[in-house]
Symmetry: C2
Subunit: 334 residues, 2 copies
């Protein structure tokens, strides 16, 4: 066998094998495989490299590596409407037989008749009525079971998958990447904290004690020697817009160094995180630009409106993710 | 040299050395060296052994090993009065020159004149006035500096040491022991959450995000492009008595498996933690019985009254620590 034959028969396969092996090693070490190698991924990696570089002025100790994530539209799908609103409307239908008066009483009548125009006309008060009615009147343990049962059965109207599968694969990778670099990841959502806690640990790796959200009041009662916490039909806290920094301070007690959102509801959280601090900070907005794989919306939508924050982002140096261009995948593979 | 001489000259010292070494090794491995080998220590160790024993029915996964600690009287001294009250009274004196009207206005007049009877007569409303006046009107960052500066200078009237040194050495060991066994340790105090957070990480190893407490309202404001959180003179939440389970649920979102308190203010937290759960639970009450080394008080005191919880403890199987009998040391050595 000549040298040429040797090369083609032995050396080329060997080199190919080595290259394949290197490619595989590289793929394995890429912590963000669902992100294209565009500006957002580069900005994230550069920030993490910076704050974890010991003996440099930008180094941030682990205890201060707090990252906060909005949920609806940032970690999971929020169209055609917030998942928790779908849950609440389903609850109205479930509870209707026990509440026959609802068929003549707004906003419940609108829900039962599927009259979205009348529901919209009921405004914020109508919405609060629906939430407090459907989310209160049981113990916190009972509510957890109700949420878990609903999420098991409910399917998204367009994608036909459970809502907990309609989470953004690139964001799951980002959460894991930050934690692998010593960050503590928190959810800071306008959604109800007790609607999220039953599943965030399994789905996002975020334990209940790192979930901040809106809440209704609860009351402690000893009932036949058993301690119970009852959910009351009264709003306690709205963790949205200027409420987000308030919620962050109340629950976490120190300022995050990284914040991830997708709407004007996250504007103040992004400001609180990124402006006026001394250590490096990072702000990121997920811009829904992919009508084909998910949805495309920003300034004109009812759910997750992104208007002011989109204008301010470049001024404050916030990274804007173009879902269509920057993400290889949207949801985890089935 | 005969055999006998050899034994006494070489072997006995060698054996003594080995024994000393073993004793030292044993002492080093005792995670609770300031606890006497009495019932409370045995109960704590038995509980921790039980919930960490894999492949047994009592095993509790790490994520569910939540332990909650009261602060005043459980982790640090609360006599002759709550440290935060001392802080508030000092703040009244500091702010008096800017508020000349206080010298004729209760409850401030009482504070400035050291008239504790008039102060007591002002009741809970007077106390809320003092707290909201002295704890509001600044940003959260400014308040943190005020607390830190005060704690550096203030000295306990009897022990002459900084308050952050008047923490209970056996409880510091207990916190560390639980964490070494996969527990997440939280403070759940009636005291102000922002009065504790500036120092709990350094003193107790408990980071700000694991401190739950009472709070006043805050407001987010963009001021000259700088995001600020302002403290408002309005009570937000009282984390005491039946408020403790509410605070635990709001901040942690799952039920603790171990609770440590010292007063009736901890009764509902102990009930919520220990009664009605399926996994093993542990409740402990620190009973202040040592007038010589610290203080002796229970049913008759204004600060940290222990009455109902002391009666209920044996019924619910809660461990009661007799400080005098069960603790070798009270405070860390100077």
């Amino acid at each position: 066998m000549g040298v040429r034959a040797s090369i083609s028969r032995y050396l080329i396969p060997a080199i190919a094998g080595i290259l394949a092996c290197m490619a595989s090693a590289l793929a394995q070490t890429d912590p963000l495989p669902s992100w294209n190698d565009t500006a957002p991924k580069k900005a994230i990696v550069a920030f993490v490299d910076k704050v974890t570089a010991e003996n440099t002025p930008d180094f941030v100790p682990e205890s201060e590596r707090i990252a906060v994530f909005d949920n609806d539209g940032t970690l999971w799908v929020e169209h055609p409407m917030y998942t928790q609103l779908t849950f609440a409307l389903d609850r109205v239908k479930t509870l209707a037989p026990e509440n026959p008066e609802w068929k003549d009483q707004q906003p419940f009548k609108a829900v039962l008749e599927g009259d979205m125009q009348a529901l919209a006309a009921a405004g914020e008060k109508g919405l609060v009525d629906i939430i407090t009615t459907t989310h209160a009147g049981m113990t916190v343990d009972e509510f957890q079971t109700i949420v878990t049962d609903w999420l098991e059965k409910a399917r998204h109207p367009r994608f036909g998958r459970p809502y907990t599968e309609l989470v953004y694969q690139p964001m799951l990778e980002l959460l894991a990447y930050l934690r692998a670099n010593g960050f503590k990841t928190f959810i800071v959502s306008g959604g109800g904290v007790e609607f999220m806690r039953p599943w965030t640990e399994e789905v996002y790796g975020v334990p209940p004690e790192q979930v901040v959200g809106s809440s209704i009041k609860t009351e402690f009662i000893m009932r036949d020697g058993i301690p119970t916490l009852h959910r009351l039909p009264e709003v306690n806290f709205i963790d949205d817009k200027a409420g987000k920094p308030v919620g962050i301070n109340a629950a976490i007690g120190r300022r995050p160094i990284a914040a991830f959102g997708n709407s004007d509801g996250d504007l103040q959280m992004l400001q609180w995180t990124t402006l006026g601090g001394t250590s490096p900070r990072f702000g990121l907005i997920v811009h829904h630009t992919d009508a084909e794989r998910e949805y495309a919306y920003d300034r004109q939508t009812e759910f997750g409106r992104l208007d002011e924050a989109l204008d301010i982002a470049p001024i404050n140096g916030w990274t804007v993710v173009d879902m269509k261009a920057d993400w290889k995948a949207i949801f985890p593979a089935k």
